[in-house]
């Protein structure tokens, strides 16, 4: 019953997503595209930060690295394949590079915990960003082009809408699979009590590195596609502190460490900032900050955490009444 219901809901969602751009017009297609992109980023962040409790404050490094990797792959090697398929290899290369980079820095940097890990990642993001900006070969200062090969007749915003929708679904599936596997439980054990988990024989080091690499690869792929979707970018288009922070804030508002919390948090925040309050650009920061503070003070578990608590409380009451 439950499974077929989920399947039905999934199918309905796919149909709605497929026909939506026709209904809502170019502007809201762009907003929806931003939503898919941001939610996918939040999910990728959540695999490391939510499941294993290692909060990275510098995940934008992988967006930037992915975008620049794809651009330089195209200029150095040239587009391989034709039409939209010429994007495949550069994007895969970007994901691979980000994964490799994560693998290299994982061992030393994952020895740090809590706030120290968070700040060290922030540092990694800043250092790589500055290097890309200042070493001439990368052309971060002047910017690079990455033309989007949308199929003929299709508006680019529709094209990237579908690509980001597909990526969001892929990230969601990966996240669900990870969460329900031995790997996922190991990450949760690391979050709850790393030393005890290690003592009980969980290979914490290996699982942590794996989560870090997986998260980095996904963000790298998303970064490369983002690079394609903007077409031209400099260092500060893609190495952006607010990307890093948004991933955290969206997860926090939806519910950190939950499966669908990142998606819900992204939806709520983007609806508030892009749709409801889009005319008050100069107080965006204030609203975001106030929401973050309110969430922490009122519902520390995020929206999903609050709902869960409410239903659990109701169930408990019912049980006590029955007894």
């Amino acid at each position: 019953m439950n499974r077929s219901l989920a399947l039905l809901l999934g199918l309905a969602a796919i149909v709605v997503i497929a026909v939506l751009p026709v209904w809502i017009g170019p502007f809201y297609t762009r907003v929806a595209q931003l939503f898919f992109f941001s939610a996918a980023l939040a999910i990728a962040w959540n695999i490391l930060g939510g499941f294993s409790g290692y909060w990275s404050f510098g995940h934008t490094v992988f967006i930037g690295m992915g975008a620049f990797a794809a651009a330089h792959f195209v200029t150095q090697i040239g587009p391989i394949g034709s039409g939209p398929f010429s994007m495949v290899l550069p994007i895969l290369f970007a994901g691979l590079l980000c994964g490799l980079f994560a693998l290299v820095i994982a061992y030393p940097i994952l020895r740090l915990r809590g706030i120290y890990f968070a700040i060290a990642m922030l540092g990694v993001g800043q250092v790589i960003g500055e290097l890309v900006n200042n070493i001439r070969w990368f052309q971060g200062g002047v910017g690079v082009f990455l033309a989007a090969p949308a199929p003929g007749g299709m508006p680019p915003e529709d094209f990237f809408y579908y690509i980001f929708a597909a990526l969001l679904v892929a990230c969601l599936i990966i996240s669900v699979v990870v969460r329900n596997s031995r790997f996922g439980y190991a990450l949760l054990a690391v979050r709850e009590d790393e030393d005890t988990a290690m003592m009980l024989g969980v290979a914490t080091e290996r699982y942590k590195i794996l989560a870090f690499v997986l998260s980095a690869t996904l963000v790298g792929i998303l970064g490369a596609v983002y690079g394609y979707s903007v077409g031209y970018f400099t260092t500060y288009t893609v190495f952006r502190l607010d990307f890093s922070l948004n991933m955290i804030v969206f997860c926090l508002i939806g519910g950190i460490g939950t499966l669908f919390g990142p998606v819900i948090g992204t939806a709520v925040m983007l609806f508030l900032t892009q749709v409801l309050l889009s005319r008050f650009l100069d107080i965006h920061l204030l609203i975001t900050g106030a929401l973050v503070v309110a969430i922490i003070l009122l519902v520390p578990g995020g929206i999903l955490g609050a709902l869960k608590q409410k239903f659990a409380g109701r169930a408990a009451v019912r049980k006590s009444v029955e007894a």
Binding site: I119, L131, D282, L285, A290, I296
Partner: protein
């Protein structure tokens, strides 16, 4: 000679970094909170000094007193309400997020009031400089360094010699034991936080006359404070001084010998390496013995 001049510049800059970071360090050491609002306190101090100078003609160095008092009150109230609530309802890590949220609000408010542009304070002595043989130093920077050192020494004396300082140190080492000995730990936490905010605000007044500032530069000041603490050590004026001077030197040498656009990268590189090698800083955690 260029090397000596660079070193001098670095040390002077480092003195200011030290003062800007010592409040952050104290709060981190005593309360265990990474206060991401710290940069806001610094920038707010600079703006306050600017307003006092423009409206009342008050010298920024004199303005340090009212600014310190004001930010002390703000810091105390802030800790006793928002931060205390966050810690009791969620966790110590939650305080990180809450202070981050408040920093966003603060930055937006400052931008709304003063606009997004960069400002400077220019008192009468801001363009004169002294020469020692071949070396040259701006008077403002010398004054800033002197004020920083005086304040750091004062803080060290307070922590070491007074009853208040002993109470703070006791609270930091063992909150429970301190409470059992009759200290009001909650109140002391608030006072320590207030002291940290006051020091940040006064450093802001000094920074205002030495460097341009804007609401957006609060991020840089929070990060600088963090780097200083990681370099020097947590919780002590001496640690802040060592870390600040080191950061100043790194900054000056990088700008001189590698390239001025790479100072940020160099600072963070040192930070990341330092975190991996010795996360408690060169002088260690001043209150760490019993934790």
């Amino acid at each position: 000679m260029l090397f000596l001049q660079t070193t001098l510049n670095g040390l002077v800059l480092g003195g200011i970094y030290s003062l800007a970071a010592v409040g952050f360090s104290l709060v981190f050491g005593v309360l265990g909170i990474v206060n991401l609002t710290h940069g806001i306190f610094v920038v707010a101090g600079a703006y306050a000094a600017m307003v006092l100078y423009a409206k009342l003609g008050m010298d920024p160095l004199l303005a340090m007193l009212p600014i310190g008092a004001l930010l002390f009150a703000v810091g105390y109230a802030y800790q006793r309400t928002v931060i205390q609530w966050a810690i009791s309802r969620a966790s110590l890590v939650a305080s990180l997020v809450v202070t981050f949220g408040v920093a966003m609000i603060g930055r937006n408010l400052l931008q709304l009031v003063f606009g997004p542009d960069t400002h400077t304070i220019t008192p009468s002595y801001s363009f004169s400089s002294l020469t020692f043989g071949p070396l040259q130093i701006d008077v403002v920077r010398l004054v800033a360094l002197g004020a920083s050192l005086v304040l750091l020494v004062l803080l060290a004396l307070i922590l070491l010699k007074t009853h208040f300082g002993r109470a703070i140190r006791a609270t930091a080492q063992q909150p429970l034991a301190a409470q059992l000995s009759g200290l009001n730990v909650r109140n002391l936490h608030g006072l320590t936080f207030g002291l940290g905010a006051a020091l940040a605000g006064t450093s802001g007044a000094i920074i205002g006359i030495v460097q341009p500032f804007s609401a957006a530069s609060e991020v840089a000041w929070t990060l600088n404070a963090f780097i200083v603490v990681v370099l020097g050590g947590i919780g002590s004026p001496a640690g802040a001084l060592v870390g600040g001077l080191l950061l100043g030197l790194i900054n000056a040498y990088t700008a001189q010998y590698i390239g001025p656009s790479l100072t940020q990268a160099a600072m963070f590189l040192v930070l990341v390496v330092m975190l991996m090698v010795r996360p408690n800083g060169l002088l260690g955690n001043a209150f760490g013995e019993s934790r």
